[in-house]
């Protein structure tokens, strides 16, 4: 059960960096997804590629990790001593959505009408899944409009594993909603009976949420009329890109049980969607100090009463126990994603917030020497 560090030549992650045009880092919040994504993009740049990392995390941790402040919605180039190029971008959900509206609108007036609508401002900021949807939209745009060799994308910290996969379809489902069709009825020349039913329904909804909300919604959908097709087509294209051969999904986790349970759930969901996990990256593993059993160490500790040696054995027992637990928690998940490799990163000295820190992780992910 000793940790094997990959040598530069047989690093399975390096092979994935070489064969992929998009790498999606998935996993629950707080497991180091953003940092992992940054290390992978950095490695691609060190391999001579033109790489871009896209982060969504509102905590701006990538900005910290790259020593950057204030990433914008367009990629910015990070200077450094590598043969390729490293670009980084922080997703701005709202301006991505605004751009999408402008692009699909027939006229400037239509676009402005939508952008000014209160209902639109609500969805563009807060519709559940909007962030995920815009992340995928931005990914598509970056893929088609910039010639990056590799785009590494960090997914939003979501409990629902597949939110980001379902996101592109969510808006189109929304547009297919019965209520939407009812709202649109008056402008589409339906018979008056339908219109009357619609009004009755709106009246009941208005009773609960208030009239202004309903009015805003009706205005929004009228302004949006004619744009659905563009949105629908784009959603399908984004999904196609995500399921393409050169798009690689990595699962990032920490070795604690509750986090591994979530990752296992994630892996199962990805499998249901026919998306293979190409590698499992486990951050923050405790070191494995000894092959002795924790019970034996505890017994030794008890033998020595309150001597210093008792404390030393008790401490070793603690860490052997933790390392054993971690491997045990991971075993089931590793089997589920097999034959994908498991790459382990130990607990590091301190939090990573600069290029040196990223370099240290690159040592564990890619077998790089620490500079």
């Amino acid at each position: 059960m000793t940790t094997i560090h990959p040598s530069p030549l047989d690093s399975p992650l390096r092979a994935l960096v070489q064969s992929s045009t998009i790498i999606v880092c998935t996993g629950s919040g707080g497991v180091g997804k953003t940092t992992t994504a940054a290390v992978i993009a950095l490695e691609a740049a060190r391999m001579g590629q033109r790489a871009c990392v896209v982060t969504i995390d509102p905590a701006k941790r990538l900005a910290d990790a790259l020593g950057l402040e204030g990433l914008t919605n367009v990629p910015s180039k990070i200077d450094g001593d590598w043969p390729g190029e490293l670009w980084a971008m922080m997703l701005d959900t709202k301006s991505t959505f605004d751009a999408l509206v402008r692009k699909n609108a027939d006229t400037d007036e239509q676009a402005e009408g939508i952008l000014a609508n209160r209902f639109y401002r609500n969805i563009s900021g807060a519709l559940s899944g909007t962030q995920e949807y815009m992340a995928m939209e931005k990914l598509y745009e970056l893929h088609h409009e910039h010639d990056f060799d590799l785009i590494v994308v960090d997914t939003p910290p979501t409990r629902n594993a597949l939110d980001f996969l379902e996101a592109p379809r969510r808006l189109t489902r929304f547009l297919d909603h019965r209520l939407y069709r009812i709202l649109m009825a008056p402008t589409r020349g339906f018979v008056k009976a339908v219109n009357f039913a619609a009004q009755a329904f709106l009246h009941t909804v208005a009773k609960v949420v208030g009239g202004e909300v309903v009015e805003d919604a009706v205005m929004f959908f009228r302004a949006f009329d004619g744009m659905e097709q563009g949105f629908r087509e784009r959603a399908e294209q984004v999904l196609e890109l995500l399921t393409h051969d050169e798009t690689t999904f990595l699962l990032v986790t920490a070795p604690r049980r509750e986090v591994v349970d979530e990752a296992t759930f994630f892996a199962a969901k990805l499998r249901e969607a026919d998306i293979p996990v190409r590698a499992l990256i486990v951050n923050r593993m405790h070191p494995h100090f000894s092959d002795a059993s924790p019970t034996a160490m505890q017994e030794r500790s008890r033998t020595f009463g309150d001597a210093d040696l008792a404390g030393l054995y008790a401490n070793l027992a603690d860490f052997v126990q933790v390392a054993t637990n971690e491997e045990m928690h991971l075993a089931g998940l590793a089997a589920k994603i097999s034959p994908a490799p498991v790459v382990r990163v130990p607990v590091l000295e301190s939090d990573v917030h600069d290029l040196d820190g990223l370099g240290e992780i690159a040592h564990y992910l890619f077998g790089r020497d620490i500079d």
Binding site: A126, V209, G210, D308, L309, G311
Partner: protein
């Protein structure tokens, strides 16, 4: 209870609830995201919208019990409409799947439905249903702010009607320190500490909600003897070490000492950045946390609460979604 993913919010919620129950309070944990492993911690099967007893305390009218249930916006909406004589609408909304649509029209509606339900549970007077303390396991950090900000946002968006009234009532509960406090959970590490401080100030500024003590989870408990070199320690104890043991003992001792120093630095930094009392929760080196471990953590939380500086300040009503009210009846 709020904190970013992976800081052990659910474990701390369970332990806090148990600590409260052990002082004689009837305690209800409310989950809003499902699938948190809370039932496993108490060695019980998974639960749902219907309330279950996770840890029976045996007192009269549920005193000392830890109960739990999950709230979903859909269920809360149906219940709300039925309670307000809108059965027909409730059926129509359910059948048409219009909740998603409605909640899109006014984001935060789902949150307000859940918080509204929490409020009605808080106001519950029936002996078998009421709780002295409600522990709400809030959504992960980023969402916790928008979750708690929802009533204020809705007051702006919807100026009349039942949702407006609901938002008003919820806001009143959230901003009344005798009824509600937010307890933030973090790990003694740089990024979680930074995010906690950010969340704390946003909650105070944007929601006007009162903050309870900060729970710092995962602190390594000290062990005596780690400063002594193993070879020296073995000589002192008259023991012989096995081959390679000295290196393993030394490396493990060095690792713990180093991690403890880093943790202490972060705890101190947190204290400087955020002038709130801290409750320290130990890291447990065990494989699978179960009811015994919850009790261990509960004991350490109880200890932390009883030694908190402001414990003897005048107490508010004993009912509330608050952590500090758990110090209500003395033990």
């Amino acid at each position: 209870m709020a904190g970013k993913g992976g800081v052990g919010k659910t474990t701390v919620s369970a332990a806090l609830a148990r600590a409260a129950a052990l002082t004689g309070l009837s305690t209800l944990i409310i989950e809003v995201e499902g699938k948190s492993g809370l039932s496993t911690l108490f060695g019980q099967p998974a639960f749902d919208y219907d309330e279950v007893v996770l840890s029976p305390g045996g007192g009269p009218d549920g005193a000392s019990d830890v109960r739990a249930r999950t709230l979903t916006p859909d269920d809360a909406l149906l219940e709300y409409l039925e309670d307000h004589g809108m059965n027909r609408i409730s059926r129509r909304l359910a059948q048409s799947g219009a909740l998603d649509m409605v909640s899109t029209a006014a984001p935060g509606i789902k949150d307000i439905l859940i918080l509204g339900k929490v409020k009605s549970i808080e106001r519950e007077t029936r002996a078998n249903l009421r709780a002295d303390l409600i522990v709400l396991d809030a959504p992960a950090a980023g969402h916790a702010i928008s979750f708690l900000r929802s009533p204020r946002g809705l007051l702006d968006a919807v100026s009349v009607g039942p949702i407006n009234a609901q938002a008003r009532d919820v806001l009143e509960m959230l901003t009344d320190p005798s009824r509600c406090e937010v307890v933030l959970v973090t790990l003694p590490e740089e990024t979680p500490v930074n995010e906690l401080v950010e969340t704390a100030y946003s909650l105070e500024d944007e929601v006007g909600i009162s903050l309870g003590p900060v729970f710092v989870n995962g602190l390594y408990p000290p062990i005596a003897g780690l400063d002594t070199d193993p070879v020296e320690a073995a000589r002192a104890a008259g023991a012989a070490l096995h081959a390679g043991e000295a290196d393993a003992l030394r490396a493990a001792a060095g690792f713990r000492r180093h991690r403890m120093t880093l943790q202490a630095e972060q705890v101190e930094r947190l204290g400087h950045l955020l002038p709130l009392p801290q409750i320290h929760v130990p890291f447990l080196f065990t494989a699978d946390l179960g009811p015994d471990h919850v009790d261990l953590l509960a004991a350490s939380i109880h200890q932390g609460i009883t030694t908190m500086p402001d414990l003897n300040a005048p107490a508010g009503p004993t009912t509330g979604t608050s952590a500090t009210t758990s110090a209500g009846p003395s033990t």
